[in-house]
């Protein structure tokens, strides 16, 4: 018998150690191999044929002969004399240089089961295998490849697409530099609860990398850069692993609260041949049912709402992303004859009122910022907070964000004390809330509700009348007012199937004037940062295209200058949309911040344009758009020219092309 210190054991341990190192260099699956040393290799590892698989027995033979040689001539072999790794050969010794079935073909098989309609990407070498498979093996259909000119545009387009279509597309990015470009829109999608599905290329195995760029574009943990603002990521090391993680990523992204996910497609895994006989399972996708509110808490919420004198339902954007969500809200509001404010509750509904009013109960459904909804913070030298509701007002929160929160980025807003919190999806919970309310409403309360509803309807009508009167004040102004643009547009789209594709302050007048009653008419996606509005709009217009909808984007000027390459994408892929420039020739909000700082410090306020104005020279947005293949007119500063120009532009869009009007507008 041998003891552990015997030379035979030492030699055996040494051989085993060298064997492990050898295998690690041969495979991208370093960690997996170390963990499963001696275990059965999975079928995808067998499928690697670029370098013939070497098992432990073969290795021992090799090692024995190599060791003999090494002991006989211990000199170092010059680099130029080092043999290349043995290539796979046929039976007659010829090098195998082609394959009919690559790993990326299987990846496409997997992704097709998830019914993606598009892949949106700018090119990247670390996903060249997968791109080729999508186009040739997959036939460039379901998904179809959409060419972008910047990864920021790719991911932002994915956000816009989901906001209309309700399901994700694939945003493909290069693993390091591409993901760095894409970080901002992924962050915005995280804040927007938008399940963007990102696939990032990367080449993990050093032996798969070519010298130079492949190394500069590779990372050992490529998704780390966006992990703080994604819900999940994975780096599959086998095709079976890829299949499982691809399906898992989709399920996680689509389960409320919805958020972005990143799936890394390893370059070696993409490009290595796949054994034609390999059978790799593709898991079935079963989306998780959304979490519903606890029945006892629902009963309590119903009791508070039915007993309230003036309940107000405040709605977050995620609630009205579906027709079902809108219908349930209308049902609940009409049952209670309660005022509704926020998101995409039908704007002409008599219970729709913009101002919060004077509630005694506030039902907050998936509010991004409950605190900001019922409080205001005065931005003076010493900040003060004022409650927007009377003391004793009961607050009820329903949000899945109580189930999931990350630490670093502070988009969760200030903590709001509430009286009842349901960690649940609002759309999944409202049906039981309606039923609970119905059981509690007495005939007397019904009469009371009817009278309350009449008062709210009167307030709604008064608000509508005020809107028209306020519009008159700025009707003939040049630069053109937001009110004029909103009414002129409404005059021409009211009988069309239209979609206002991105939210934001510049849409404030449209929100007041137009009749919003369908989920795609207002996505609520409010880009809280410059750079992404244009590509979000193009992505939403891409989703609207097959329905023949008129996509409308009121586009901030400063924002467009960050990623205007997406205009080319819209023209190239024949994505029809109408873009109205909100051209105020400045980063106006930032100018106002500087102005605030100057006045607060008793300094010169006339310098606020330095670093914030976008003039001298004025940017000619019409020429930019024309240069990208768009129909465009402008600059238009005379309000009387807006109507005719809109008519011409809409005619172009209805022919299937994108059109832009550069309208010089009031600041905000």
């Amino acid at each position: 018998m041998f003891s552990r210190g015997d030379p035979q054991w030492v030699l055996r341990d040494l051989i085993d150690y060298v064997f492990v190192v050898w295998r690690c260099f041969l495979s991208a699956e370093n960690a997996k191999i170390i963990q499963s040393w001696g275990a059965r290799r999975d079928e995808t590892t067998v499928a690697r044929t670029k370098k013939p698989p070497v098992d432990r027995r073969d290795f021992l033979k090799l090692a024995a002969s190599g060791a003999t040689t090494l002991m006989a001539s211990p000199q170092v072999v010059p680099a130029e004399q080092r043999a290349t790794e043995p290539a796979a050969t046929t039976s007659n010794g010829a090098e195998v240089m082609t394959t009919d079935r690559a790993g990326s073909d299987f990846m496409v098989d997997v992704l097709k089961t998830l019914n993606f309609e598009y892949v949106v990407a700018s090119p990247g070498s670390d996903f060249r295998g997968l791109q080729e498979s999508f186009i040739n093996y997959g036939g460039n259909k379901s998904p179809e490849w959409i060419t972008c000119l910047h990864e920021e545009s790719s991911v932002a387009m994915a956000e816009g697409y989901f906001s209309i279509e309700g399901r994700p597309l694939i945003a493909m990015v290069s693993g390091t530099v591409g993901l760095q470009h894409a970080a901002l829109p992924i962050f915005l999608a995280f804040q927007d609860r938008n399940p963007v599905y990102v696939i990032a290329g990367n080449i993990l195995d050093v032996e798969e990398r070519r010298p130079g760029a492949d190394w500069m574009h590779a990372a050992q943990d490529v998704a780390a850069i966006v992990r703080e603002f994604t819900k999940w990521d994975d780096l599959p090391v086998s095709l079976g692993h890829f299949a499982e993680s691809a399906v898992r990523a989709y399920k996680i992204a689509m389960t409320p609260p919805r958020m972005p996910v990143v799936l890394v497609a390893d370059g070696g895994l993409q490009e290595r041949p796949m054994d034609p006989g390999a059978k790799v399972h593709i898991p079935k996708l079963t989306l998780a049912a959304a979490p519903r509110g606890d029945s006892g808490a629902v009963q309590e919420a119903a009791r508070m709402l039915v007993a309230a004198e003036y309940p107000v339902i405040c709605v977050g954007k995620t609630v009205t992303r579906t027709a079902e969500g809108i219908k349930l809200l209308v049902d609940l509001a009409e049952l209670l004859q309660a005022q509704v404010t926020g998101a995409n509750f039908p704007s002409r509904h008599p219970l729709s009122v913009r101002a919060l009013g004077n509630p005694d109960v506030v039902l907050g459904l998936e509010l991004d910022d409950f605190f900001g909804t019922v409080n205001s913070v005065r931005d003076q030298l010493h900040k003060t907070t004022t409650s927007g509701v009377r003391p004793g007002t009961k607050l009820i929160s329903v949000t899945p964000m109580d189930l999931y929160l990350k630490s670093n980025y502070q988009d969760f807003q200030r903590y709001q004390e509430v009286d009842l919190a349901l960690a649940a999806d609002a759309v999944a919970t409202v049906p039981s809330l309606i039923e609970a309310c119905k059981r509690l409403i007495t005939p007397d309360r019904r009469i009371f509700f009817r009278d309350r509803g009449a008062k709210i309807a009167a307030a709604h009508q008064a608000e509508w009348q005020r809107t028209r009167e306020e519009a008159a004040y700025s009707w003939d102004l040049s630069p053109i007012s937001h009110a004029r643009i909103a009414y002129e547009l409404w005059d021409q789209i009211r009988n069309k199937d239209w979609s206002l594709v991105v939210g934001g302050d510049e849409n404030e007048w449209s929100r007041r004037v137009w009749n919003f009653d369908k989920p795609y008419q207002y996505t609520g996606f409010n880009v809280e940062s410059v750079a992404c509005k244009a590509p979000v709009a193009v992505g939403a217009a891409l989703a609207n295209r097959k329905y023949g909808r008129l996509s409308i984007n009121i586009q901030k000027d400063g924002d467009l200058m960050y990623a205007n390459g997406v205009l080319w994408t819209a023209a190239h892929h024949r994505i029809p949309m109408l873009t109205i420039m909100h051209n105020n020739r400045a980063y106006q909000q930032e100018m106002m911040h500087l102005q605030r700082m100057s006045t607060r410090r008793n300094r010169d306020v006339t310098t606020a344009h330095i670093g914030t104005a976008i003039d001298d020279p004025n940017i000619d947005y019409a020429k930019i758009a024309q240069g990208m293949g768009w129909y465009a007119e402008g600059p238009i500063a005379d309000p009387k020219e807006v109507g005719p120009a809109l008519k011409r532009a809409i005619a172009v869009v209805e022919r299937g092309e994108p059109a832009l009007l550069d309208t010089v507008m009031q600041p905000r």
């Binding site: 404010t341 926020g342 913009r354 101002a355 919060l356 910022d369 900001g372 909804t373 205001s376 913070v377 005065r378 931005d379 003076q380 004022t386 927007g388 807003q413 028209r468 009167e469 306020e470 519009a471 008159a472 004040y473 700025s474 009707w475 003939d476 102004l477 630069p479 007012s481 937001h482 009414y487 002129e488 409404w490 005059d491 934001g504 302050d505 404030e508 929100r511 409010n526 809280e528 940062s529 410059v530 980063y587 106006q588 909000q589 930032e590 100018m591 106002m592 102005q595 605030r596 006045t599 607060r600 008793n602 300094r603 010169d604 306020v605 006339t606 606020a608 009031q666 600041p667 905000r668």
Partner: protein
């Protein structure tokens, strides 16, 4: 980029508009209580409307209130707003809500008088009934 979340909250804006309206109504109410006339040019020194227009732009008043004083997402309507010059100056110097304070070091009483004159020189809006699109 920095962002004012309050400016991006529909409901928050509703609160803000309500508070602004309350302040202006409060000014009017205080005037009535003290027996003052609600004259738009009450105690107003003569101002240079043309210069006031230039200052309105140069000092950035238009950023919140619009070039025509029509109001906007973050600023109240000033055109055809019948508050006294005294109330106007008082609010500019020590605003109650989100508006930044403009002390005499930043803008003089004379300049405020010019702006006040500019605001009162603005034409009345057209009748809503005269604009067909607003009546459809």
């Amino acid at each position: 980029m920095n962002h004012d979340l309050r400016n991006r909250r529909l409901v928050g804006m509703g609160i803000w508009a309500f508070v602004v309206a309350t302040v202006f109504l409060g000014c009017s109410a205080a005037r009535v209580e003290s027996g003052q006339q609600a004259s738009p040019t009450e105690a107003a020194p003569s101002g240079d409307a043309e210069n006031g227009k230039a200052i309105f732009k140069k000092d950035g008043c238009y950023e919140c209130h619009g070039y025509g004083g029509q109001g906007g997402v973050t600023g109240a309507r000033l055109s055809a707003n019948p508050i006294s010059f005294a109330a106007f100056v008082q609010y500019v110097r020590a605003p109650k809500n989100q508006m930044p304070p403009y002390t005499a070091k930043v803008i003089s009483d004379k300049e405020l008088a010019d702006i006040y004159a500019f605001l009162h020189s603005l034409p009345k809006p057209p009748d809503v009934k005269s604009i067909p699109i607003l009546n459809e």
